[in-house]
Symmetry: D2
Subunit: 325 residues, 4 copies
């Protein structure tokens, strides 16, 4: 394991992985969760099979970016990234296997072709794929402007696209080494405790400021989920969403406010089954610099709270799904 | 030349070029232009040499993204992109030379190291480089949040970062073939006339929806400039900027409104020397899809005007810098 | 008739009229208009009788602020203001009769008690009333915050409250003298032509910048309607509304942009029957000054177009409802 | 004293007082406070005399809305309202004297003519006046649009106008009876404790939702000040202001967030001398209803925190100026 303080991104960026593609979220209150995600949060259901509903934001090009799966528990099912090409998929599989995280090929589901599935050190299921089944808007969802994937329907919070997810892990360093090796992700920001250990880390495979973040699971359980996030076009969409959540009896955990880390304007709520869901806006912030090196926040810096001084809410450190004792 | 209607982006994206890095703009009213860009538009001057002022937006990581150069004319000096690595620079130089656009190595200026400079079919000067001189905020510009390049100073329109530029060209097809060959850019959107010729084309080298656009120069002159654009975090920043421009006697050409092409929220003004300058906001829109294919707008579709019906202003088709008879 | 240029508001403001209360709009496409106003524009239907649907914005305290009436034509039915008290109603009736605009008492409709109805010089029907039937939110419309009249439903454009209306008149001076005499309105802004005649005038009875405006009817017809307007909380709500209108095939006439007169941020569309409908945002602008005197815009000042230079669209001068030859 | 729960506004509104006109704030760090209010908060200094700087927001019509006075302490100097007419001033003086709050005539200062000054039950100095000295913009402050009082200068947070103030009082009921009797204010919202006592009350003399609020002083001291507030046009102005405060080292106490009471979007900071200063945006919310009755919040309702669940910060209940043991 590399010393956290000394960690440097490699000078040659890896471009094999194009973007975070979809996240499977488990719910033990399927109907309520589906109502939340479609009517209140503003995603569109594109298909349903025995176990899952396939959901998407209006400008996701993929068929589904959220696979909502009926379950006896909550949390995350699997996390999928799409590669930059067919060849890149092969390269990544080789890299994953070389790094000791070998998994297996699976068939894919309604939204994409065969995928290579493998496990993180905390038993989170990841998959990568190339062949996909892009969304084809039916007539009643055809946009007025042809450069949108689907019409701007304006229902609920109506975010534009999948943004990122956050996982709870036992060791941030272990997860970092895993995702850097497997996906070629780069570290954009990190929180370094006085103990020398990382409390959190933010990663990206492209110009987004992050597509996955991990924070330490204080319960030290495996395969736990912190939140999933969609991006809105404007911060005002998030202020408006707060009223929508309020009127629909959704538990608002914290926000709207601005994170110190990454500068993201955020709002966190819990969907009916208890999974944490965020809306976020990064403004025009992108990581364009190819030799970007991690921004490291110290423990004392993080004690200042969020960007404008809001104290980080306690449940942010304690609540994950599924709940554990 | 490829048939415009049939043009397809290659399936394997090229990642050698990281991002648009800076643009040199010429002015024959140096003091007035500098006052506009710093006090009104809200850039920061980081250095000055005999001929030029080096300017940057508050979250540009580079030393300068706009080099404002004292001149007897107006328009664009040169356009620079930074590569993804030192090796990528070598690969690109080889590709440029193989494509018949060979140029020469130049020394660089205050903001970066040696660069390879070459000409477009319309005599626009392009350069690519790897070695750079990132901005180091002096004490009075140090941000409260360490993940910003410079403090949010709030002066003038205060955009976040360089976004894109637009050039006038004699043949959009020729320019496209040039930039695809030289930079590995991808076409994200294009306007195809009934005649079978392109009227405009938008390109990107990364996840931004575009970093350069070209439109046909109705004067069929060479080396002409349409506009340079910085990105704001929110659309509200642009509405506010409109009042700032109004109060400062800046000529507002058109906007604020939303482009149909690319969906960008825009505002165009002319700086004192006549160069067109834009503020733009793309919301959360990104091109994440690795196999993105061009969105083609027909002549009749473009006749509908901008996204919400605003007719494209006549001067948008006639005014470029330098002015020609 | 007072000389327009010399017109002064009386030093002692009149407070008998509390606010614009509701507008009756006629439609010859009742179902389509109702669908527009409820699903797209975002009003709520509170009742229906044989001829009309009663509609309201989410924070209107009244039962209805828009009475949409099935008709063989389009335009305005009647315009209602609520008085400040029962005694104020009596005072106003006396003033109206003294000024030569005597009308008659009518019974009121579902939304309020008896009203005094009288005609403007252009045959527009006005009414004033005191006794009202405030909105009582049913269980499914009860707001989460008890200081709202109805829950923030977030459907369609979802404006907060009725703002103002605009009528076409043959003589602005005549209308001004009428409304000043009858309602005690004050002139906040006006457009004075070089000919010495008024082209438009904006009036208020309270701290709003205007609740009614009139402009010259170039057709010199009677009882014509220019538009009705609801207020949004933020300008961003109007930018969002533009996308909603676009996706729903609503004709966007002009905007979003900012008026020079009154500084209102605006968006104009035509509902299915052709009546012009606006969304507007005045920011924090109010007329608090008790001795406010009219701001007079000259013909040459108005030729500069709207605040940020947008030329006033031609149809704004020609389209009114009902259409006349 | 009227029973708080049963308090009803009179049916006949009083219109003698037009609006809150200015507030005098005391500072024992005059230079730092002045720098804060002009450079960071974005007011304009219009004059200075031996003891005070006269400050205004860009669209205040008055010469000054904040009189910043050099002092050995902090807190509020006096609070001024302008009447609706000369006659209304006489009526109010008679009412004040009849209610047992007789004061005396004072000469006025640079911003207005003679005023009647009187004390609240908690020794706060109030004054009312009619004759005023409206702001005349000098050439360099003349607005591009003639309906603005001053140009939109865009410096600092740049709020539009004075909005309201908040005082600490020993008895909310006593203050209510005072202000209702003296100014004819109406109660728009109030917080009623289980004990039957009021914890806070919001008042208005016009269509604004409130121009003064009072909350219980837990120290039971006299003449204490909670905060002064200016209004911004948009919520985005407040989000932007948060970054300006952050970069200028201003203590952000709480926000941006939305109050449950009155629904105001808020941000509270402490100016260098410790006085609390707010920026607020009410959207399009107004009190137009002439027979508006108080909205009463119970103790348990207020325990839910602010509109979107933010807990009210502890210092909001403890910090006032001047500080007392």
């Amino acid at each position: 394991m590399t010393d956290a303080a000394a960690y440097r991104n490699p000078q040659e960026p890896c471009f094999d992985i194009a973007h975070l593609a979809h996240v499977e979220v488990l719910t033990d209150k399927f109907e309520e969760s589906l109502d939340f995600f479609t009517r209140v949060y503003g995603l569109t259901e594109t298909a349903r099979d025995d176990s899952s509903a396939y959901l998407r934001a209006f400008d996701d090009y993929e068929f589904a970016t959220l696979k909502l799966t009926r379950s006896t528990t909550t949390g995350v099912g699997h996390i999928a990234y799409r590669t930059s090409s067919a060849a890149a998929l092969e390269r990544r599989v080789a890299a994953i296997e070389a790094a000791g995280f070998a998994g297996e090929w699976v068939e894919g589901d309604l939204s994409h072709g065969r995928a290579y599935r493998f496990k993180s050190p905390d038993d989170h299921d990841f998959e990568i794929y190339w062949e996909t089944n892009p969304y084809q808007a039916p007539d009643d969802q055809r946009p007025a402007l042809k450069n949108l994937a689907q019409r701007y329907h304006g229902r609920g919070c109506c975010p534009r696209r999948l943004d990122h997810l956050n996982l709870l892990v036992r060791s941030v360093e272990n997860f970092r080494d895993f995702i850097v090796a497997c996906l070629g992700s780069r570290v954009t920001e990190q929180i370094l405790l006085d103990s020398g250990q990382l409390a959190g880390c933010w990663f990206t495979v492209n110009n987004k400021t992050y597509d996955i973040a991990v924070t330490v699971d204080h319960k030290q359980a495996s395969n736990r989920f912190h939140h999933i996030t969609y991006a809105t076009d404007q911060r005002e969409d998030i202020l408006r969403a707060a009223d929508i959540f309020l009127e629909n009896g959704v538990h608002i955990e914290t926000g709207p406010h601005k994170h110190a880390v990454q500068g993201t304007f955020f709002l966190y709520v819990w969907e009916p089954a208890g999974n944490r869901v965020e809306l976020a806006n990064a403004g025009a912030r992108l990581i364009l610099r190819p030799d970007w090196q991690p921004v490291t926040w110290t423990e004392s810096e993080r004690k200042k709270g969020q960007a404008w001084g809001l104290k980080t809410i306690e449940s942010f450190h304690t609540h994950g799904t599924p709940e554990v004792e």
